[in-house]
Symmetry: C2
Subunit: 303 residues, 2 copies
């Protein structure tokens, strides 16, 4: 969620939009889903590690794209790589500078391939007006062949109201919020910015809008769906930006297929806030109770 500023704070977060059965998005069915448009990458001929993307106005944040979609883009680049082995296990991306509107170059390099695991080094760069290329994102990923073996979610899904019984959050004046159906359960953006202290726990239902069958890039994007914990903790206007995001995947394609186009339960909380940076630890479950993702981030805040 890098970076989100006052417009979200000042946006309309009324929760009176009713749940409705949604007609098929015919534009989406003609042109592909908005997420697929945002993740589109043009391969660089003869250079399997390199491709080119463009920021999507549909996922625009305040001064750059929604960080979750950027994470999803580099993960998709890994998954599309001709040498890719296995499924995503771990992804870390560092938002080292705001990504400017327009084109960017993605490099995903398989730096080590073992028998059943593969390690990736990731970089996004952009060329400035003077023609100089600058790194705007660094990262690493691990993909691995998943083997049928003992598996278990030790952390059970919290018992919460089903999505059908939870009002949808209206969108603030941030474009990417319109790409998600968000149904807050507890710990929504504070209604009053009054400096009151809150537990930073948030729980919400989330899915793409329009609904889209779950895949790994969509999961990576939703790992970054939360507004910053420092807002909830303090109820104070605070400029923020995610600086590092780590996603651990606990799912294979069969589990994603079970999740389908249903909402996911998303839960986040902060643990430590120290001199300008705080953490966030979060989980995503399918409606059926599968723990799909555990995820963590470091967030800059200017208190």
């Amino acid at each position: 969620m890098v970076p989100l500023f006052r417009s979200l704070i000042q946006g309309n977060l009324d929760m009176d939009t009713p749940l409705s059965s949604r007609p098929p998005d015919t534009e989406a069915s003609r042109a592909g889903h908005s997420l697929d448009r945002a993740l589109r990458l043009e391969p660089t001929p003869g250079q399997p590690d390199r491709s080119t993307g463009r920021t999507s106005p549909e996922y625009w944040n305040m001064v750059g794209p929604f960080g979750g979609v950027t994470a999803a883009t580099v993960l998709k680049a890994v998954l599309d790589h001709p040498e890719r082995l296995g499924l995503p296990v771990a992804l870390t991306v560092n938002f080292v500078a705001a990504i400017a509107e327009g084109a960017y170059a993605v490099e995903v390099r398989p730096v080590r391939t073992n028998r059943s695991t593969q390690h990736w080094v990731i970089e996004i760069s952009q060329v400035d007006e003077a023609g100089v290329s600058h790194v705007v994102l660094t990262g690493t990923a691990l993909t691995a062949v998943r083997r049928d073996t003992w598996s278990e979610a030790e952390l059970g899904m919290p018992k919460v109201l089903p999505p059908t019984e939870v009002s949808r959050a209206a969108s603030p004046a941030i474009e990417w919020f319109n790409r998600y159906e968000l149904r807050p359960l507890v710990g929504n953006v504070p209604a009053q910015w009054d400096g009151s202290q809150h537990d930073s726990l948030s729980q919400l239902w989330v899915r793409d809008d329009p609904p889209r069958a779950l895949d790994f890039p969509a999961l990576a994007a939703m790992a970054d769906i939360f507004f910053p914990r420092v807002w909830l903790r303090r109820a104070v206007h605070t400029p923020v930006g995610t600086v590092s995001l780590t996603v651990y995947f606990h799912a294979d394609e069969a589990m994603l297929a079970r999740a389908g186009t249903d909402c996911l339960l998303a839960q986040a909380r902060g643990q430590g806030y120290f001199k300008g940076f705080h953490d966030q630890t979060a989980q995503l479950w399918s409606t059926g109770g599968d723990l799909l993702v555990t995820t963590h981030q470091a967030v800059y805040y200017k208190a």
Copy 2:
């Protein structure tokens, strides 16, 4: 803790070693602390991003060095870099292959320096018998100038017995364990490998042995102090290895100085175990109750 195998499982984990006042380690005072010996890096003349280290027999694990010391080594390389800005905020290291006994090359490159933050790309490589260089670790780090501002540990330290009232764990037949004073509170290595199910929560007191004033590399090492959660969860002999470790630092030098040479309270638990990889989420507090580190890892397991 990459990788730990049967010797630890079969080791002597009696908890009957009494707490004693420790005489000064005169060898350590002559030759430096064992941790400082392990972290020693030889700069590469004219190449500020590069240095050379050697695996330390004092921190040897089963088939490679203790992963925590490797994480500490690359963090130290960042901190020693002549262009380094600020203090550590986030560190991610990926253990992409077992590190062989002997020399290795460390590269820590400041890929982007902003006004108050700096992003690093990290790599360790080793030359094999055929003279070919192989990447054995990848990583990224963020350092930043810490500003005095609102700070808080939302996650309070658990109420536990003080270190003086907790027996020390005897060391198993793993060399690096002898470099730490470990006082388990709950969730120690299972006494019986009987397939019983346990909550994966562990809490223990830990410090360097001999005691050493806390710094950021020591903290990075202790972030990896835990035995793998899958052992505790299942009480089944399981080969394991950490594949990715992320550390978020919530401390500055003043807070480290307050922690001094006292024990830290270390807490870890697993959340998801899926087809060969599980996560771990953990925290380290000073004896005085400061939350110093939140940390996460992805662990390979062969069930």
